[in-house]
């Protein structure tokens, strides 16, 4: 440890460069030379890159722990001695990237390419590189048969790099680079099999939905730099109070936009009380808009289910464990800004609860194994935001932590199942349909047991990871009450300034929604488990390409149907006569990550077992959220007595959900579910179609954008193309027609033209040019003759028809004066060096003076 400390001092912790650089190197090598290197070299490179990054992360984490420990100091709170730690960080500055003069009163704000590791980013870094390594290992086997093996791992390594930039960036712009980087990788990997059109469309959808969120993040950055004069974490932390200015000019005026008043015929728009929000609320909402895009919350969650088009390891790594939690990470990172606005906090909590509920309802009826997991991810992300939104940052982040394990494990398990199913069915869609699975625990016991543990964890079975993290969130949602931490100061400064406070019933309401979502979570997860692994295998009768095709032929007498297996069925021709292989367990590269993640899913909860007052995670993260929790929370009276009853509600949710699933799908073979679907066909279709939110967006948002696009296109076609483009083309064509006559290719014509031109030039110099400029000053006119080579001048200023002097002189100007309203004629004669003369008559007239009006006249 001393060696590490001496090699990498706290202020220049260049090990971060290794953590960041290895995945980037891997991405570069695989991306540029991967095709020629071959699969073995690509596999080696990619695993070494992420593995080295993981090892470096562990070393960095230990170094951070060392620094934190040495900063500990004892304090006595409530007569109990406790150890408090500073918010220690390890820094590494690459270089100054740019600076902006957009700070308060034009102050210059430097933006450095700076990275830091603190308690929060340290944990996140370990999760990303650790889970990332396991998923890379898994993917080397899962993707082994893919032609674009090298491209996949180049993207995957690039993703790890971008994610680390996002986590370790010490200011918002650097975070934003990572934020965009993971978005790009997500896009590339969703559309990895871009030959299939829906995959490419899904990638595009994810990218565009994220772009809407990124707009919010950018706006938040602008507002922050304007009000706080900083963009790095510590600067923002110390400047955040400026976001709560009470001065009217500092508020964000929403209606009328930008303040002011509506005048004239628009006066009816002027509200009685102008609507404005504090900058803190504006920043919070804008940041949260960014989070809804990246972390798939209402209203921007629609991209995540479609993102399942990507390879399953991608779904596990990007769309479950790491990238989608970036929004929660941002909320934790900027917690000191969010808590300044209870309205924003309430918005986050409500959105989170609503998303948790909505995601869970959709997951109840989906049949695609990855779709169920995708909606479950949306729902779990909702739980995380619920936790963050009620000010329980540690609880929210802890759910990120545990969710990374059990959801990655489930996705990888699902991948293992799909792998096995696909080997039998050779149909991308049917291989993922749980209606064709069943009984798989006989064939793939390792996958089954790890999946089972993860299902227990996500459903909240007591003592698993999900139990501790989810119950902590629900408990906090019930007891926490957000208030403005600076309410008293604001009140003192300006008594009339309205301070919003959430209603008292909000906490219990959020808790109730959360418990409902938890019941549904337990139900759909056990439904998934039972349908996939229990009972008998239902895949024997389907997916036999030749048989299906034959049946169809017999039934319809139609020769045009392709075999059900599609093109992939063709190269497995030899399987057709036999009953087909049984599903098989996956190779060790796929099962080892499953076992490790399953173990973590079972045990990681004890890192923050609030129920047993054993909370190392909470203690570890405490310094990070110190500013955010100070004064911002009012905990309800008698909270501690509620802890066990509220946990009881969580356990009850697990028991009800899982019990119901067992009753319906194991004891009664799915009959009640079928009956319910038949009894309420309209509702069933609606939920199966995901509440038709996609269709709603298509009808409203997409239609509006399309209409705008059509208008712009028709303007482009009629005005730009029709008038401007054609007119310029016409002018050029006409000029060309004229000039073409001269370009006849006969050299002699050119030579003659040259000679004539030269002669014209010569004549211009030989002939004299009498020119004159007139300047006036108080009725005196000065006539100045233009200069020329060897010119001499002769004037006739008195207009008697004869020159004033016989000889030409160098006198090149003459003065005349006249009364108002009259004019004079002056003749100028010029002689040049060749003795040629030129003559010009100039008439100067003075305008009549305006008549002065006497008073009283008129």
């Amino acid at each position: 440890m001393d060696l590490v400390a001496s090699l990498f001092p706290q202020e220049n912790f260049s090990l971060i460069a290794v953590i960041l650089g290895m995945p980037l190197l891997g991405a570069f090598v695989n991306g540029v030379w991967g095709r020629r290197l071959g699969k073995d070299a690509v596999r080696l490179m990619t695993l070494v890159a992420v593995g080295a990054s993981f090892v470096a992360s562990i070393v960095a984490f230990l170094a951070l722990a060392h620094v934190v420990d040495s900063s500990g100091h004892k304090e006595i709170v409530d007569k109990v001695e406790i150890v408090r730690h500073d918010h220690a960080k390890l820094y590494w500055t690459a270089w100054e990237w740019m600076h902006t003069s957009g700070g308060r009163e034009g102050a210059v704000v430097p933006i450095e390419l700076k990275f830091s590791i603190d308690a929060l980013s340290g944990v996140m870094m370990l999760v990303v590189t650790g889970v990332g390594f396991l998923i890379h290992l898994y993917a080397t086997s899962y993707m082994a048969a893919d032609k674009a093996f090298w491209r996949f791992f180049a993207y995957l390594n690039l993703f790890i790099f971008s994610m680390l930039v996002l986590i370790l960036g010490d200011n918002l712009p650097v975070l934003f680079v990572g934020w965009e980087g993971v978005g790009l990788c997500s896009y590339l990997l969703i559309g990895f099999w871009y030959g299939h059109l829906p995959n490419a469309a899904a990638g595009k959808k994810a990218f565009i939905a994220n772009r809407i969120g990124d707009f919010g993040l950018i706006v938040a950055m602008f507002v922050l730099v304007q009000y706080t004069g900083a963009l790095d974490w510590s600067g923002l932390n110390s400047g955040a109070q400026n976001l709560l200015s009470t001065a009217d000019a500092q508020q964000i005026h929403l209606w009328p936009i930008g303040g002011g008043q509506f005048q004239g015929f628009l006066k009816f728009l002027q509200p009685e009380h102008p609507f404005s929000i504090t900058p803190a609320t504006a920043v919070g909402l804008m940041l949260f808009l960014g989070c809804t895009g990246k972390s798939a919350q209402i209203p921007l969650y629609v991209w995540l289910p479609d993102a399942m088009a990507g390879p399953t390891p991608v779904s596990a790594l990007i769309h479950a464990a790491t990238m989608v939690t970036a929004g929660v990470y941002l909320c934790c990172r900027m917690s000191f800004v969010f808590v300044l606005s209870p309205a924003t906090m309430a918005t986050i909590a409500c959105t989170g609860a609503a998303t948790a509920f909505l995601g869970a309802t959709i997951a109840l009826v989906q049949n695609d194994i990855k779709k169920v997991l995708a909606y479950s991810t949306i729902s779990q992300l909702g739980f995380m935001f619920l936790g963050v939104g009620v000010g329980a940052f540690t609880a929210g982040f802890f759910h990120v932590f545990t969710h990374a394990f059990f959801k990655a494990c489930m996705f990888l398990g699902a991948g293992s199942v799909i792998h096995a199913m696909h080997a039998r069915i050779h149909d991308d869609e049917k291989a993922q349909d749980i209606r064709y699975m069943g009984g798989l625990r006989k064939y793939m016991p390792l996958t089954y047991w790890t999946f089972f543990v993860s299902v227990l964890a996500i459903a909240g079975a007591p003592l698993t990871a999900g139990f501790f993290s989810k119950d902590e969130i629900l408990y906090r949602a019930f007891i926490n009450h957000n208030v403005n931490p600076f309410a008293e100061q604001i009140h003192k400064r300006s008594a009339s300034f309205a301070i919003w406070e959430p209603p008292q019933w909000l906490g219990p309401a959020l808790f109730a929604v959360g418990v409902l979502a938890a019941i549904m979570t337990a139900f759909y997860m056990f439904r998934l488990l039972f349908l996939t692994f229990w009972g008998d295998f239902r895949g024997w009768t389907i997916g036999r390409p030749s048989l299906l095709a034959k049946q169809e032929k017999e039934e319809h007498g139609d020769d045009d149907h392709p075999p059900a297996g599609g093109s992939q069925g063709a190269h497995h021709e030899e399987d057709l006569s036999t009953p087909g292989y049984a599903p098989h367990e996956s190779p060790w590269q796929m099962t080892v990550p499953l076992i490790i993640l399953g173990t973590l899913a079972a045990c990681a909860g004890f890192l923050n077992a609030g129920l047993f007052h054993f909370t190392p995670m909470n203690h570890w993260l405490e310094p990070v959220f110190e500013t955010a929790t100070k004064g911002a929370l009012k905990v309800k009276e008698g909270a501690h007595s509620l802890e066990w009853p509220l946990t009881g509600a969580g356990v009850a949710a697990f028991l009800i959900g899982s019990g119901l699933a067992y009753n319906w799908y194991v004891m009664r073979g799915g009959a009640p579910a079928k009956a319910l679907a038949e009894a309420q066909p309209a509702l069933y279709r609606l939920v199966l179609d995901k509440w038709r939110i996609d269709e709603l967006y298509e009808k409203t948002v997409l239609a509006a954008v399309d209409a705008l696009g059509d208008t712009a296109a028709s303007f482009d076609q009629s005005v730009v193309d029709g008038v401007i483009a054609r007119l310029t083309a016409l002018i050029v064509a006409a000029l060309g027609t004229i000039l073409r006559a001269f370009q006849n290719g006969v050299v002699h014509v050119y030579a003659t033209a040259m000679v004539v031109g030269l002669a014209a030039f010569g004549w211009f110099f030989v002939a004299p040019h009498p020119n004159a400029a007139i300047t006036e000053k108080n009725g005196d006119y000065v006539i100045q003759a233009g200069p020329g080579m060897g010119y001499a001048f002769r004037w006739d200023a008195d207009n008697d028809g004869k020159p004033d002097s016989e000889v030409f002189t160098a006198n090149d100007q003459v003065k005349v004066s006249m009364p108002a309203g009259e004019s004079k004629t002056v003749t100028l004669e010029v002689v040049n060096a060749f003795g040629l003369t030129g003559k010009k008559t100039i008439t100067v007239s003075r305008p009549a003076a305006p008549q002065k009006l006497e008073l009283g006249q008129n």
């Binding site: 006849n744 290719g745 006969v746 050299v747 002699h748 030579a751 003659t752 000679v755």
Partner: protein, 101 residues
């Protein structure tokens, strides 16, 4: 010593011969020679006027510059004539219509 006027007249005559030759002759080689005559008419004028300014060499220097430029120009011009001859088997300028149409 002859007066400056004689030189100016000689130069003018030479220039006119060169100019007319350039315009009327179709042989590119002759046209090149005509250009040389015109340039040398200018050289002659420069050197003659230089005599009027005792002790100064500007005019003569200019003449040398022009001779150097001429040499370069002739090198390029002859190269063009050569390649024209290779393509068209002629050195007549009215048949050099490769760029036409």
């Amino acid at each position: 010593m002859t007066g400056i006027a004689n030189y100016v007249v000689l130069s003018g005559v030479l220039f006119a011969i060169g100019g007319i030759g350039f315009l009327v002759r179709r042989n590119v080689l002759v046209a090149l020679m005509s250009i040389e005559i015109m340039l040398n008419a200018v050289n002659l004028l420069l050197v003659a006027f230089n005599r009027l300014h005792a002790g100064e060499l500007t005019g003569q220097l200019f003449a040398f510059f022009i001779i150097a430029a001429e040499a370069a120009e002739v090198a390029v011009g002859l190269a063009i004539v050569l390649s024209l001859f290779r393509i068209k088997r002629t050195v007549r300028s009215d048949e050099a219509d490769l760029l036409k149409n």
